[in-house]
């Protein structure tokens, strides 16, 4: 099964999740997702998702000077973002549970 299709639906949740404990700039988020096992996630998809979540009011952003290289824009979960993460997390768990049950019948 093509995981990139699955990923499209849950990238929001994944991005919110990796920002839960620590703020991050775009490349940070990308690395955390990849380190977490989402190897196939596209660079541009992550940046696009960050923009969408920010525009939806789920993230705040701030710019911090960096010693090496360009200034970095960090993204941080705000309260609506944390709420969305909790909701989407619940949705995901119940969905995954449902599918597990279905697969249990098949396998």
């Amino acid at each position: 099964m093509d995981t990139s299709q699955l990923l499209k639906g849950v990238l929001d949740l994944a991005v919110l999740a990796v920002l839960r404990t620590e703020d991050g700039y775009g490349y940070d988020v990308l690395r955390r997702l990849r380190a977490g096992g989402l190897d196939e996630v596209g660079d541009a998809s992550v940046y696009g998702t960050l923009r969408r979540l920010y525009n939806a009011g789920l993230l705040t952003s701030y710019v911090v000077p960096s010693e090496e290289g360009p200034h970095r824009k960090y993204y941080s979960l705000n309260e609506p973002g944390r709420q969305r993460l909790a909701e989407s997390g619940r949705t995901w768990r119940s969905f995954a549970h449902t599918l597990d049950d279905l697969l249990g019948v098949v396998a």
């Binding site: 525009n55 939806a56 705040t60 705000n78």
Partner: protein, 385 residues
């Protein structure tokens, strides 16, 4: 690590990326380029000695592909020019152009109709696509056959045939019987829209001529498919006008009017905001909200370490500190207001006269409500801090 040579190539990549996003609002583009632009620079640095334009493209894809992927993920509308950039296959190129020009011309005509007065600039787009395609079709007689052989035409045809045999068959047959009436109605709609737009003027006469053309194009298109290039845009335009009229008659008949409505952009603000009171005294710690009571937040520029320093700040509190780099390169956040202003004197202030309080409360013509008991209180001494 980044020599001037690599910088030029990185810049070229960024320029192409920006060009592929050019139809988005400016604020959004600059935010994206802040983020993703920094990413491209970082990736280029990581490549180090192996850096080349090819290596960058291998790692990230072409700038256009990168921009496209980002657009999809961010939920922006697809680039407006996609339809116009046809695949340059030699034998079918002209046919493919004619087909997509019909699609684009029809879509633009619909947008022009539904946009009301705002849709008028789209007329140029319609004219370019439609006229160009018609010229092509008339210059080469075999072209219309080639259009018929295109895979996209075949897809449309089979979709139509399926619809005619499917569950909606009766409805479609009924609609077909109404076709002549629709041809007449759309001619009237086109003529009316010319009149509404500009009264009795050359525009109206052009509208009248186009209405006549539209009227003829309906039955003609049955025999000569080339008339479709007139008939379909005319129908789409008339349908758009009809929806526009219905939309302005029926309250809240909401539909999105421009492509920019898709983007829930936050309001664009300057980097900082300074507020002064009536006496020209600077106000600090001002909280800004929009008309819906939503806090007006913008990206915060600061010196702190990423993380808790920035967590749960009031992002709608202004003015923001200014970020400054002293001579030794240290980052400093400077609070306060960097300038003074002369607040323009108000021409007539109801609370200006010290003895006005008694009469103001009685006088019914004094409709402006000054802050209550402003003059009865002892004059306050401006206290800074």
């Amino acid at each position: 690590m980044s020599s001037t040579h690599t910088r030029a190539e990185v810049q070229d990549y960024l320029d192409r990326m920006r060009a592929a996003l050019a139809d988005l609002p400016d604020v959004e583009i600059s935010e994206i380029m802040d983020d993703a632009g920094a990413h491209v620079v970082e990736v280029a640095d990581e490549l180090g000695e192996d850096f080349s334009a090819e290596a960058l493209t291998t790692r990230l894809g072409t700038p256009e592909a990168y921009a496209h992927e980002l657009r999809v993920a961010a939920g922006y509308p697809p680039a407006a020019s996609v339809a116009a950039v046809a695949v340059p296959e030699k034998p079918v190129f002209a046919a493919r152009f004619a087909f997509w020009a019909l699609v684009a011309g029809t879509a633009a005509a619909f947008g022009m109709g539904i946009g009301g007065r705002d849709g008028f600039p789209l007329a140029l787009l319609v004219a370019v696509f439609v006229v160009w395609a018609i010229i092509l079709l008339n210059r080469k007689a075999e072209l219309i056959g080639q259009v018929g052989d295109l895979p996209e035409t075949a897809a449309v045809r089979s979709a139509l045939e399926q619809a005619e045999q499917g569950q909606a068959a009766k409805a479609i047959a009924y609609l077909k019987s109404l076709q002549p009436a629709w041809w007449l109605a759309r001619a009237v709609l086109i003529a009316i829209s010319g009149l509404v737009l500009d009264g009795m003027s050359p525009v109206f006469l052009i509208g009248l001529a186009l209405a006549g053309l539209a009227l003829v194009s309906g039955p003609k298109a049955k025999e000569d498919r080339r008339w479709l290039w007139v008939s379909l845009p005319a129908g789409a335009f008339a349908a758009g006008v009809l929806l526009y009229i219905l939309g302005s008659v029926i309250p809240n008949g909401g539909y999105s009017r421009s492509s920019q409505d898709y983007i829930p952009s936050r309001p664009s603000l300057p980097n900082n905001i300074y507020v002064f009171d009536q006496q020209g005294r600077p106000l600090t710690d001002v909280y800004l909200y929009d008309e819906d009571g939503q806090p007006i937040v913008t990206t915060f520029y600061g010196c702190g370490r990423p993380g808790p320093d920035y967590r749960d700040r009031d992002d709608n509190r202004y003015p923001r500190p200014r970020v400054d780099y002293s001579d030794n390169g240290r980052c400093e956040e400077i609070t306060g207001v960097p300038f003074a202003v002369a607040v323009p004197a108000r021409p007539s202030s109801p609370s200006a006269s010290p003895s006005g309080s008694a009469s103001a409360s009685v006088d019914p013509s004094g409709s402006v409500a000054p802050p209550p008991s402003g003059s009865s209180a002892p004059p306050t001494v401006p206290t800074s801090k």
